[in-house]
Symmetry: C2
Subunit: 238 residues, 2 copies
DNA sequence: CGGGTTTTTGAATTTTATCAATGGCTGTGG
DNA sequence: CCACAGCCATTGATAAAATTCAAAAACCCG
């Protein structure tokens, strides 16, 4: 709690931020002072909900494996997926009384639940924990602003390129392969994330394939063949 | 810092949140413990920048009068306005080392600058201040998620209706007139906020006018004639 | 291997953007 | 006080992009 205030959790080591206290999912224990609290893990099947909008929020969630999608809906069924959460990510740390969106497991996943009472306790007793939460929220805000630019200004093919690059960059950050991407979600979910129909997503993935920027191994696996060109495309320098 | 954790700053009284410490702009003083710090105010002309992307962040800003737009750009000039900030609003409380977006004054405005060193001090010394910041960020996150739904899923006319309702609801919250809206920004700025061109914005405002949902007094003043129908339209129950 | 689901591709339609011109407001100077 | 210049905003016609509807192909699981 000194003069340090740069927000760097976007980059590299996740244990630098809030994960210091909550863990990165390797252990199911949380230390508060000298006592340990055991949190609960559970497996979820595709399309199971962790929570629905307006449910009371009693826990925050940490994805251990798989992917969770968080979304809002219009009354007629149109859906906007706000964020895909991957292993290590925390859902709901902004804590309101009730959930402001739906949280759905998109593929077979393991998820850890952490009671918000524990978060409260950490806030009270652990110096620096509040600051870490602020940084995590700031990072989330920055990422959503990126997504706003994509949704508001980019063409379909630019959106798809941007989406692939996001996964590529995440891979890099997590020590994975920058060029080999695993897409656990369906085309329809990608569409609901990018503000496009399933057909438009498919067509533009095909276009990227035809122009030699990517190779589609199978529907869940894409390889980036020309990263610089993909980046140019994503930034609108078509 | 007790068990209180519901986030209610969205509703009603602004002094309930972070404004407790920073003020709502009526006074230019900030109290830290028993000492007072005077912050600086300044008038800005349209199109002046408070900061540009990648500038070091030394201050946060509070709008006193007028409007400030915060935006990101693509290299080719396409612009996405992320948020319009109105009097009382704080810009930059998520504090990163450098700004992640541009901040431009959209009409003649008065803005107060608060050094981030003061925020640091408040975080260290004032119990509850960190919690208030978390709540403010959470509110901002929730509003941007709303905007994601609009940008990703709504049609042009639904976007315009949603935009007008946002201003109406803000008016209501601030004790103003729910039906009489002042639009300090240009059509072009509204377009860059909604992911539409200036012509599409104009056309759809005209459509709302023709269908009798609104009355356009002059280009900066709109009156809502049929609030329920406008709300239906904004929610996609066209 | 087969059935159901997801994805891809194609054709027609709708929506929005683009290009072009007109209209209207505002503020200034004669 | 009126006329005019400059800037926005509106409206119209056309073009481009994305959606919708429809069908075929590929994939996955048992």
């Amino acid at each position: 709690m000194s003069g340090e205030r740069q927000i760097t959790s976007m980059s590299g080591n996740k244990m630098a931020g809030i994960q210091c206290w909550l863990g990165d999912g390797q252990s199911d224990q949380i230390r508060i002072g000298h006592s340990f609290t055991v949190t609960s893990e559970r497996a979820f099947e595709p399309h199971e909900h962790l929570f629905k909008i307006n449910d009371m929020q009693s826990h925050i969630y940490q994805v251990l494996s798989g992917v969770v999608g968080v979304y809002n809906m219009l009354p007629d069924g149109r859906r906007q997926i706000v964020t895909f959460y991957y292993p290590g990510d925390l859902i709901g740390i902004e804590e309101s009384e009730s959930w402001r969106y739906h949280g759905e497991v998109l593929c077979r996943s393991r998820v850890r639940s952490i009671p918000i009472t524990i978060i409260d306790r950490l806030l009270e007793t652990e110096p620096g924990f509040g600051q870490a939460m602020l940084e995590t929220l700031a990072t989330e805000l920055a990422e959503i602003r990126e997504q706003l630019l994509s949704l508001g200004q980019k063409s379909a093919i630019e959106k798809v390129a941007t989406f692939l690059l996001r996964i590529s960059r995440r891979n890099l950050r997590e020590g994975g392969n920058q060029h080999s991407l695993y897409l656990p979600m369906t085309r329809s979910e990608i569409g609901d994330y990018l503000g496009l129909t399933i057909e438009t997503v498919s067509r533009n993935i095909s276009k990227l394939k035809t122009s030699g920027l990517i190779h589609v191994l199978n529907k869940n696996t894409v390889q980036i063949l020309d990263l610089p060109k993909l980046e140019e495309l994503a930034d609108g320098n078509s």
